[in-house]
């Protein structure tokens, strides 16, 4: 019995030995730990970031064989199929099928729909304009990404970070530039968590004290019937306008209909809680798994981080600028601060509008007014993603 040989084989197949051969994996393990710190200690979107960070950790531990990027290269090149992934892949490869097929982001959207009250939007339909204006960052980041040398599909995926909507960003990137998924998802969720830090300086810079002090009238009461008809109307109109939005808008509105119709409370409850939680686990861990060292540690990742921040800033500015125009046009009836809530990131961006509004005028209650543009932003970013998918998805 060759005891020494056995020990040597054990050592050579251990992760410690394999890690020594590629320093980048050690760096990625540290990145995973940093993301875990941000998620757990700093509470940056912990529901997603903890899963993404742990996925990063798992995929970069050498020898684990949980995720095989080369297998997915084959799927993209049509030399491999999902069947091959099931036969040859690891646990995270199998979970990643749900991301690649666009199942998880759509199911998350169903949960978002079931948790969202579109009442403020129905009470003040003008807020849809603010939701549209706040997509400015999507297109600005898209142009800047092209300037920095990214391909069209890659630039489109980077641009959608400006929509401030994680599932939409993951959905579009998986279709157009799966090689950038890890970096884009991390950038999108990190900046969403940083909205209370990113937006206020821009809000104060672009508005006057008088504008921030503007009080808004109480919203009208929305009837139950309106709330039930709304998701049906949105699904029909938006999907007819841009059929590529069907998975996202369809699921968002189905979830909302379940919430509002009042006859499927059990389903609504499941979508909002159990389903949402299960899909969040699968989505976050499998997205984290795509941050494989040799593909993640590139200059492109740094560029995406910078472009993502710019996208958020431009989107905030877009909403605020239209808010200022509406303030002028309506004779001060609309507080421009609610414009910044058009960047989606429900309800964080609306809360920031409320906080800034109250700082300017303690009698100001902008939260419900800001929820209108906030949920309009969700629909707006889905339309923006649908457009980019229709153009670059071939």
């Amino acid at each position: 019995m060759d005891l020494l040989g056995t020990l040597q084989t054990l050592w050579e197949t251990s992760g410690f030995y394999l890690a020594a051969s590629d320093w980048r994996q050690i760096v990625m393990i540290l990145v995973g730990c940093l993301l875990l710190y941000l998620g757990i200690v700093k509470k940056f979107e912990p529901l997603l970031l903890v899963g993404i960070a742990f996925g990063t950790l798992l995929t970069n531990l050498p020898g684990g064989g949980l995720y095989h990027p080369e297998l997915w290269d084959g799927v993209i090149a049509h030399t491999k199929s999902y069947n091959d992934v099931l036969l040859e892949g690891g646990l995270l490869d199998i979970l990643y099928i749900g991301v690649k097929a666009g199942v998880y982001p759509s199911l998350i959207f169903m949960g978002v729909g079931a948790m969202t009250d579109f009442g403020p939007l129905l009470a003040n339909p003008k807020s849809l304009l603010l939701g549209a204006a706040a997509q400015l960052g999507v297109y600005m980041a898209f142009i800047l990404a092209v300037v920095l040398g990214f391909t069209g599909p890659q630039a489109a995926s980077i641009g959608i970070i400006g929509g401030a909507d994680g599932p939409t960003a993951i959905f579009l990137t998986t279709k157009l530039a799966p090689e950038l998924l890890g970096a884009i998802a991390i950038a999108a969720y990190s900046y969403m968590a940083l909205i209370p830090l990113i937006q206020p300086p821009i809000m104060r810079a672009l508005t006057t004290k008088e504008e921030r002090e503007a009080k808004m009238e109480q919203l009208r009461t929305v009837t139950k019937t309106e709330k039930i008809v709304f998701p049906i109307v949105v699904a029909v109109f938006v999907i007819l306008l841009l059929p590529s939005t069907a998975p996202l808008i369809g699921c968002l509105m189905l979830g909302n209909l379940m919430r509002e119709c009042g006859v499927v409370d059990r389903l609504s409850d499941t979508v909002q809680n159990a389903l949402m939680n299960i899909v969040t686990i699968f989505l976050s861990v499998s997205v984290g798994a795509t941050t494989v060292a040799d593909r993640f540690l590139t200059w492109n990742t740094l560029k995406i981080v910078v472009l993502g921040l710019l996208a958020f800033c431009f989107s905030t500015a877009g909403g605020l600028i239209l808010g200022k125009i509406m303030y002028k046009v309506t004779g001060g009836k609309i507080n421009p601060l609610i414009g910044s809530a058009g960047v989606s990131a429900v309800p964080m961006a609306a809360r920031v509008s409320q906080v800034e509004g109250q700082k300017a005028n303690p009698a100001n209650f902008l939260l419900m007014h800001a929820m209108g543009p906030n949920v309009a932003g969700v629909i707006g970013s889905a339309i923006a993603a649908g457009f980019l998918l229709a153009v670059f998805g071939g």
């Binding site: 339909p125 297109y139 109307v233």
Partner: protein
Amino acid sequence: MDLTNISVGVSLAYSVLGFAIVFFGLILLMIVIGIMARVMKAGQNKAAAPAPAPAAAPAPAAAPAPKAKAPGTAGEIMLHTVSDRDAAMIMAIVAHKMNRPLNELRFKSIKEVK
């Protein structure tokens, strides 16, 4: 057209088009929501309007005299041996238990059962 390597000019053109489509889609929705709200409002007004009396209907019998309001009664609510404070608490509890906003409920009278 090769959409993989696009020029800055082409990206600018796509951006303008994409931004316009987002606005178009959401303005369309705004119009639809506006129409929907008007239809609902018209329906509500119609339901709230009193039905016209038949032309040749016989004169109705004398209407019953309105019930005398109990002391402490406010607005539409008839309070019978219940203080304002207790009535407010009862209404708040009922709204909470029914999970409905108070302004969606209509209380006719509150009476203490002894």
